[in-house]
Amino acid sequence: MIAVNGLRYAYPRKTKGANELTLKGLNFDVEPGEIFGFLGPSGSGKSTTQKLLTGTLSGYEGSISVKGKELSRWDNSYYRQIGVGFEMPNHFSKLTALENLKLFASFYDGDTLEPMPLLEQLGLHEHAKKPVGAFSKGMKMRLNFARAIMHRPDIVFLDEPTAGLDPANARKVKQIIKSLKAEGKTIFLTTHNMLDAEELCDRIAFIVDGQLATIGKLDQMKRSYGEPSVVVEYRTDDSAAPRKAVFPMQSLSVNADFQRILATAELWSIHSQEASVEEIFFKATGTKLA
């Protein structure tokens, strides 16, 4: 669906240091119908990549192909194919949520989603006729999301879609993202929220300092970068406070210490544990994600 090869980009001299490359040769593909997570710390180039893919920044080197066609050869019809959810809310504050959505819906020829049911799905229906200026950041972010998907695009670019949302509303947004995937839509998710990435993404790419550190399926990364383990909480006769021990999952059945605890101690809990996205990121890049 999206193929990026040798993507290099430097901001114009006035806006950043002369010839300083923000992206230093990215190569990746996004498959149709997958949720592709693009993770990296602030300033790593993830938002710049998204802005190049959405055509809002131009002047890149290398190749960006979307639906088999080089991005530079697409005309404005490209924006019927894609939806973009920006990192920061950008709405007309003097217009209501409904007016904002209806305005943008009027730019598309085909069927667009009905604004009210969409607002209802996002918990905004009761505020549909209120000026957006009176909205909280979380409400504006949900409206951003609604605008991005309203015209039923095949590819949705989302930049930190759950930023500023409470857990209940973040769950609503993630549920809609999952349903979009079920409909066969392709999602490009830019985030530094590990939980979102872990819950939503089929594949993940890590970007650091304008370069891709690693890319792949999350479960494969967990196997490559993390060692599954078992965490045991227990108490022995001579200790009042519970103790914790961590054992490698592999050869657990012949681990003498683990067997001794099972045989002699009072067990409080046993949990399996695998590497988190944050740990994988640290191991893969040597850098912290946040």
Partner: protein, 232 residues
Amino acid sequence: MRAFAALLRHELLLLFRQNVIGIAAATVIIYAAALYLIPRDHHDMWVPALLMSEIVTMGVLFIAAVLFIEMRQQTAIAFAVTPVPTATWILAKLAAFTILSTGAAQALLILSSSIPNGALVTLTVVLTALLYNQIGFVLALWTGSIRDFFLPLSVVMGLLALSIYWHLGAADSPLFWIIPSYPAMILLASSVSAIPAGTLLLALALLLLWNAAAFWLCRHAFHTRVSARLGR
């Protein structure tokens, strides 16, 4: 065309919601008061100058003020990811503000009753309002903030005011032909004093050319000042 109509409706609604129409009405009242203070036998001299001044003020300042609000809200970039071409968005915005400026100028013309409100005057008012709205658009995008706006504004306004001085007989130079406001002033003045047909045609052609150049600058300013700033 459908997108343009939707955008124009949207821009007019915003003018109302942002109270720009109310401020425009207040501006007309101020200019009407100034007109009332001018003796009737001086109207031929002063009405075209007042008209030009009103169009300049509303054209440059109003659109710039609204653009500063929109830049803060980052709404322009939301349009950049829709199938609507940038030119359509710019045209709709300019059209809405030109309607506003033209309406205000027409109100002043009706109140003055000394300038015949003919087709040429109306055309001149529309083209002049369009030109100044484009100047305001470009200045607002180039400067990016109210703080940086006023110095370039004062330079530009000073330059554009030279044509009013010419009309009032305070200054004259062949170089005035290169000032964008000069052909507009000639056309407005033609309604109260006889001007050769060749001069009128040249003025009209220049005004059209300035509008075309200003529209190119508007698009350029959008691409360099809105799109290019995105990645930061």
